[in-house]
């Protein structure tokens, strides 16, 4: 069930909300938690009930391992932790990376081992990472012993189940346990619905509009002119941000209805003026996971400069691979690793760039690296990038022909300058609008902190909800569901 569907907005969410608080009102708190777990599993099974045993067994396994880690001696704990992490990675690896591995073996050895063609269980990357962090924290003695119901709620709580934010048990468990959160809170409801409507608008109005041009440019067009290539890459850059941050806003909003505060996941990432700054603003909970559970255990920056660089590279290559089983994802992670290494070396030398120039370089690096992230095949990436940096195929709008006819002498053509990405002049306005939004508007988390039940906010809520509501009729999945 998608957040941006009628079933979720008009059936699942209100029914779950009312029954949950009805049970709480009757002081049936265990039943209400049980109901919330049941609802979350129903929400998960809506896509494919065949995935349900996978998440249930993963949850049970990690709960048992987590409890064992709380009880055993230090020596045993280490073996149990390794065993727990190994099985989690094995599960993820089997479903997500088997075919990638087989394809590469076939390529290297010229063999013909058939691929398994496994369907990737929904949210497996997210719930696996979340539970690995639980095991590591249990090993470190940072978890308390919770019952299975609370643990199940921590893993399955539907707002964050499918695509994060990746939450820590220590930020969730106390909230689930708090009796203050069992009572309906109108401030949280108003706030939650307001943020939910912002997220819905970001997804169905903004991201889905950019998606048309990004899809046409990457998947359909055989050639692109200079403008089309830049419009394609920028469209995807905006689509990805508005899609994923829109999803996160909806998750945060839905959770707030139940008085649960999910961690912030985006903080105006495209305002970043260096790559380190970007990773502090983009998919913050994933960055936190990568830092806490990969970069620091590898040694972080404690073992000299060279080792720090190696650790950065390793962390980002793993981050790339987490996003998808493909060399384009690995290369995307590699590029970001290299950028972080260069940034670190640069900072050490004490150089500083003008802020606007720093933003320009950072944004363009991010935009270009997303091309590898989005491309299904290397050829698609090369097609977009080569056209972005080639002056051989420049087409300008036909209406400029009379004014700039002299440019024809330099090989510049006039006419359908967006035909290959099925666009029109509106692309220019949308791209401009996209830049205005990412650079000059306060983000939804700022809005969350400042929210007051004013007429203006009421108008914004009603307008965004109504427009999104009318755009809902098509099926449009969130990009991060496939990771």
């Amino acid at each position: 069930m998608l957040f941006n569907s009628y079933e979720f907005i008009f059936a699942f969410l209100p029914i779950t909300f009312f029954i949950y608080f009805y049970l709480n009102n009757k002081r049936l708190t265990t039943a209400s938690k049980g109901f919330l777990v049941f609802s979350s599993l129903f929400f998960y099974s809506w896509w494919n009930i065949l995935y349900l045993p996978i998440i249930l067994s993963s949850m049970l396994f990690n709960f048992i391992i987590g409890n064992s880690l709380n009880k055993n001696s230090k020596l045993n704990k280490r073996s149990i932790l390794i065993f727990g992490i190994f099985l989690n990675i094995a599960l993820l690896g089997y479903f997500k990376y088997s075919d990638f591995f087989i394809q590469n073996v076939n390529l290297l050895t010229s063999s013909h081992i058939p691929t398994l063609d496994l369907a990737l269980p929904l949210a497996i990357s997210f719930f696996t990472f979340q539970q690995i962090s639980y095991l590591v924290d249990s090993y470190r003695g940072e978890t308390k012993e919770y019952d299975f119901l609370n643990y199940a709620l921590f893993v399955t709580f539907f707002p964050q189940l499918i695509a994060g934010p990746i939450v820590h048990h220590k930020e969730m468990m106390p909230q689930f346990a708090s009796k203050w959160n069992l009572v309906k809170n109108y401030k949280n409801i108003a706030l939650g619905l307001f943020i939910f409507s912002i997220g819905l608008f970001k997804k169905v109005v903004i991201a889905d509009t950019f998606a048309l041009w990004a899809t046409a440019g990457f998947d359909t067009a055989t050639t692109l002119n200079l403008f089309e290539a830049w419009a394609t890459s920028l469209s995807y850059t905006f689509q990805l941000y508005f899609d994923f941050s829109g999803y996160t806003d909806m998750a945060i909003g839905a959770a707030l209805l139940f008085n649960i505060k999910l961690p912030i996941n985006f903080n105006s990432p495209y305002k970043a003026t260096n790559i380190q700054d970007f990773w502090r603003r983009w998919h913050i909970t994933l960055s936190r996971f990568l830092k806490d559970y990969i970069y620091i255990p590898l040694g972080g920056n404690r073992k000299g400069e060279f080792r720090t660089y190696t650790n950065l590279m390793a962390t980002f290559i793993i981050g790339g691979l987490w996003h998808g089983a493909g060399w384009t994802f690995v290369f995307w992670g590699f590029l970001h690793g290299v950028a972080l290494v260069i940034h670190r070396a640069w900072s050490k030398l004490g150089f500083k760039l003008n802020t606007i120039l720093a933003w320009f370089i950072t944004f363009n690096f991010i935009n270009i690296s997303w091309v590898f992230f989005r491309a299904k095949e290397w050829d698609d990436a090369i097609k977009v990038l080569s056209s972005m940096f080639s002056l051989d195929n420049v087409v300008l709008p036909g209406l400029l022909e009379n004014k700039l006819i002299i440019l024809k002498n330099y090989g510049i053509e006039f006419g359908g300058f967006t035909t290959n990405i099925q666009g029109g002049i509106s692309i220019i306005f949308w791209l401009f609008f996209g830049f205005i939004l990412i650079l000059f508007f306060r983000n939804s988390m700022n809005k969350l902190q400042e929210f007051k039940p004013t007429t203006l906010n009421g108008f914004l809520f009603v307008s965004m909800f109504i427009i999104s509501f009318y755009k809902l009729s098509g099926y449009s999945e969130f990009l991060y569901f496939r990771f």
Partner: protein, 355 residues
């Protein structure tokens, strides 16, 4: 707390009022004729059945329009064609004598259920089936994942017809939720706004009668066949090439998840029922653009197109059915410029096949 409660209450009331108002407007304006509230489609259908060519009619529910045409028929049709947009340019003059009454009832993305429903409409409304039926058999009619469900606009005729030749329980008449969803659909709201603007601009006219096809507009001839506006009718060869290639990128129209032929029993029962009523059947297999076809044939998953053709040829041979055309354009030596995109032939395609 009170402030938040009040804010929530007034926001919800505003949302409900706005949604209800827009839904009422969409229902009343009904530019596609989905709810049967528009009479412009009735007038267009009457003009056609009165023997007048119409132009400018856009964005209507094509199935509903065919129903209106059948209801308003002034003559008994001897022959009809039913197919998808790939059959829409099949004209009477390509293969029939002048004295024969013919109508082309093709609708976009036609599926097997559309054939059954349109024949059902003839039987239910007029009590007869035209003596000759050209079925524009696209390869996707045997794909259960074709995603074509627009035929549901004609569900009552489908149910009526299927009860005549199938013991299988008919599909329960369900409420057509797709139709009602249009009341709260953004595109339909925009379409209705544009419709009102056009009405105002054209002094209340949404289509017009023409006596020539030499106009830059979408035209429906009196035999139901269509002409595209100039941009598509006289498309440049480089644009055809581009469209023919891009057709094969991403998801190919109605041909995805198509790994085996489905609906065969329903298809065969329907044909046998028609033959038992002495109806002459012609299968028309509209060719693909050679560029498109060649690219598709390089991908094994689309070889199902040839399997569908083979099945149709075998079935036609066994049951004495005439077969015209082929999905493979090379059999007729068609060039890519004989097409207006990846899958729609220009006039010369149907003409060459039927002559």
């Amino acid at each position: 707390m009170k402030k938040n409660k009040k804010w929530l209450f007034s926001s919800f009331i505003s949302i409900i009022l706005i949604v209800v108002s827009i839904s009422i407007l969409n229902y009343k304006i009904d530019s596609l004729g989905l709810f049967g509230n528009t009479n412009y489609l009735v007038k267009a259908a009457q003009a056609l059945t009165d023997g007048k060519m119409i132009a400018g009619l856009k964005n209507s529910d094509e199935r509903f329009f065919q129903e209106l045409i059948i209801k308003n028929l002034k003559v008994k049709n001897d022959a009809i064609a039913i197919g998808s947009s790939r059959t829409m340019q099949l004209r009477k003059r390509f293969f029939l004598e002048d004295k024969i009454n013919f109508f082309n009832h093709s609708v976009s993305g036609a599926s097997l259920e559309d054939y059954i429903a349109i024949v059902g409409a003839y039987e239910m409304i007029h009590g007869y089936i035209p003596k000759t039926i050209v079925l524009g058999t696209d390869p996707w009619i045997f794909n259960k994942y074709s995603g074509q469900n627009r035929w549901k606009s004609l569900q009552k005729y489908y149910d009526f017809e299927i009860s005549k030749f199938s013991d299988e329980a008919k599909i329960n008449a369900t409420v057509n939720t797709t139709k009602w969803k249009q009341l709260i659909n953004y595109d339909y709201t925009i379409s209705n706004i544009k419709f009102v603007k056009t009405l105002i601009k054209n002094n209340g006219k949404i289509f017009y009668i023409t006596d020539t096809i030499k106009i830059d507009d979408g035209i429906k001839e009196i035999d139901g066949s269509i002409h595209y506006p100039y941009k598509r009718r006289f498309i440049k060869s480089d644009a055809i090439k581009r469209d023919a290639t891009s057709y094969t990128k991403g998801k190919v129209y109605s041909l995805e998840k198509y790994d085996k032929l489905s609906n065969l029993k329903l298809f065969e029962n329907f044909i046998k029922y028609l033959q038992s009523n002495n109806i002459k059947i012609i299968f028309f297999l509209p060719p693909y653009n050679p560029i498109t076809y060649d690219i598709l044939m390089k991908k094994s998953k689309y070889h199902i197109i040839n399997r569908a053709e083979k099945y149709l040829i075998n079935f036609a041979n066994k049951n004495d059915i005439e077969i015209k055309g082929s999905y493979n354009p090379h059999k007729y030596n068609f060039k890519y410029t004989d097409f207006s995109d990846g899958m729609h032939g220009k006039d010369k395609v149907a003409k060459k096949i039927f002559e």
